[in-house]
């Protein structure tokens, strides 16, 4: 058993551990496990350029989403506007530190970490340089990914606006639209990114 040699195309399904051949995928194709149906491998088209363009867009949108006010409220001539960070801060000051920390991490910190780390990996790849230690970054991206929840945050914003609509007039800020766009861009960016580029740079080069 121990001297058995396996072809390089054999992979194990991460959901059920079944060994199978990784098919040769055309760009845009996805392979699924024959036993449990999990995604085995994907082959995003034109990965480096597309994901780099999307990540740069995401970075710009992220700045807009955090600098400008999200929403404003107007009540009897008085006006309150909040940015994303100010919202977290006021929850912190209201004595809800753990909840404020949770919101800060999931809605602000983890999304930016994801964008930054994909950029750190992609820029040298685009320049044709290979720096050791990419694997660590990619693992960080993977472990942070489930905790970035801006799409849930946007839905939460809509719910709170409906709750407030009867109380005061609501003004949607620049950051609201930037966040909405950011969600779309981030989804496409993580779909366009091909982790195999990290392990097979020679193969990926045009």
């Amino acid at each position: 058993m121990h001297h058995l040699r396996l072809p390089a195309t054999v992979i194990a399904c991460h959901d059920c551990d079944l060994l199978q051949h990784e098919p040769c995928l055309a760009p845009g194709q996805t392979a699924f496990c024959v036993r449990c149906g999990a995604v085995l491998a994907r082959s995003p088209a034109d990965s480096v350029d597309r994901s780099l363009a999307l990540v740069v867009t995401a970075a710009i949108l992220y700045v807009l989403a955090n600098v400008y006010p999200l929403v404003g409220l107007e009540l009897q001539g008085r006006r309150v506007e909040v940015t994303q960070f100010a919202a977290v801060l006021s929850l912190w000051q209201a004595g809800m530190e753990p909840v404020a920390a949770l919101v800060f991490l999931t809605a602000i910190a983890f999304p930016v970490l994801e964008v930054a780390m994909i950029a750190i990996v992609l820029v040298p790849l685009r320049l044709g340089r290979q720096v050791p230690g990419y694997g660590r970054f990619y693992r960080l991206v993977r472990s942070v990914k489930p905790w970035g929840m801006i799409e849930v945050f946007l839905l939460g914003m809509l719910v709170s606006l409906v709750k407030l609509a009867h109380l005061a007039s609501v003004i949607l800020g620049v950051a609201f639209w930037a966040t909405a766009a950011l969600i779309v861009v981030l989804t496409f960016a993580s779909r366009a990114f091909d982790p195999r580029l990290l392990w097979e740079p020679a193969e990926a080069a045009p």
């Binding site: 121990h2 058995l4 396996l6 992979i11 194990a12 991460h14 959901d15 059920c16 551990d17 079944l18 060994l19 036993r35 449990c36 149906g37 999990a38 999200l70 929403v71 409220l73 009540l75 009897q76 008085r78 309150v80 909040v82 919202a87 977290v88 006021s90 929850l91 209201a94 809800m96 753990p98 909840v99 404020a100 949770l102 919101v103 999931t106 809605a107 694997g135 660590r136 990619y138 693992r139 993977r142 489930p146 905790w147 929840m149 849930v152 839905l155 939460g156 914003m157 809509l158 719910v159 709170s160 409906v162 709750k163 407030l164 009867h166 109380l167 005061a168 982790p195 990290l198 392990w199």
Partner: protein, 211 residues
């Protein structure tokens, strides 16, 4: 066709990059390609899943019975639980949103806890029932769980926005703490569960069931 797993051949598959490596008698094996720690199955998977899920189940009670937020306005003070918030949305005419909040804040966490308990119990018993469906259930739990953060975000924004001294203010209630803990605990519980345990009930020489 016989189903041959990586474990049956003494191989470890890297959870980060998918590389297969021969299991070596080293204390902390690492992936030769990306240097991630390697393990045959997620360490102490079942015990961790049980512990975190049961903790979430316990905290689910205060999360739903204690007030999520307190609104002070012209009329006086009003305390809202998650459910009364849903009822408010429903009676004020925005029933699509009431359904969304009910689904995200009550149904999703409850179903997630029940699904994790079922998965842990079935693996514990070595069940061979519907492995494919159970794997799919696990993937659904992973995807859907994040949406229960919804109410935490709603409270955050309301507290920040409704600050009209003398007219109206909103305070976060103790349920937000319990609820946040439920979300985090169930997410860690789902991450610690190893779906390959479902398939370990089938040994390599057997025919894989269709479902």
């Amino acid at each position: 066709m016989g189903a041959v797993t990586a474990r049956a051949l003494g191989l470890l598959s890297c959870h980060a990059c998918g590389q297969l490596a021969r299991s070596a008698p080293v204390a902390l094996p690492r992936c030769p390609r990306c240097h991630a720690p390697l393990h045959d199955r997620k360490p102490a998977s079942l015990a961790t899943t049980w512990a975190l899920t049961l903790a979430a189940l316990i905290l689910f009670v205060p999360a739903n019975t204690l007030p999520m937020m307190t609104t002070a306005s012209f009329g006086g003070r009003q305390q809202d639980t998650i459910l009364s918030g849903v009822v408010f949305l429903w009676t004020s005419g925005s029933w699509p949103l009431a359904l969304v909040v009910f689904f995200a804040s009550i149904l999703v966490p409850l179903l997630k806890i029940l699904a994790l308990l079922y998965l842990a119990a079935s693996v514990q018993r070595g069940s061979r029932v519907a492995p494919r469906a159970r794997t799919r259930l696990y993937r659904m739990v992973e995807v859907i769980g994040r949406w229960s953060m919804l109410d935490i975000y709603v409270v955050t924004l309301l507290v920040a926005l409704v600050r009209f001294q003398g007219l109206a203010t909103v305070e976060a209630g103790p349920a937000s703490l319990a609820f946040g803990a439920v979300v985090v605990l169930t997410m860690f519980a789902a991450l610690s569960f190893d779906p390959r345990l479902i398939w370990d009930a089938f040994t390599s020489d057997e025919v894989t069931p269709d479902d």
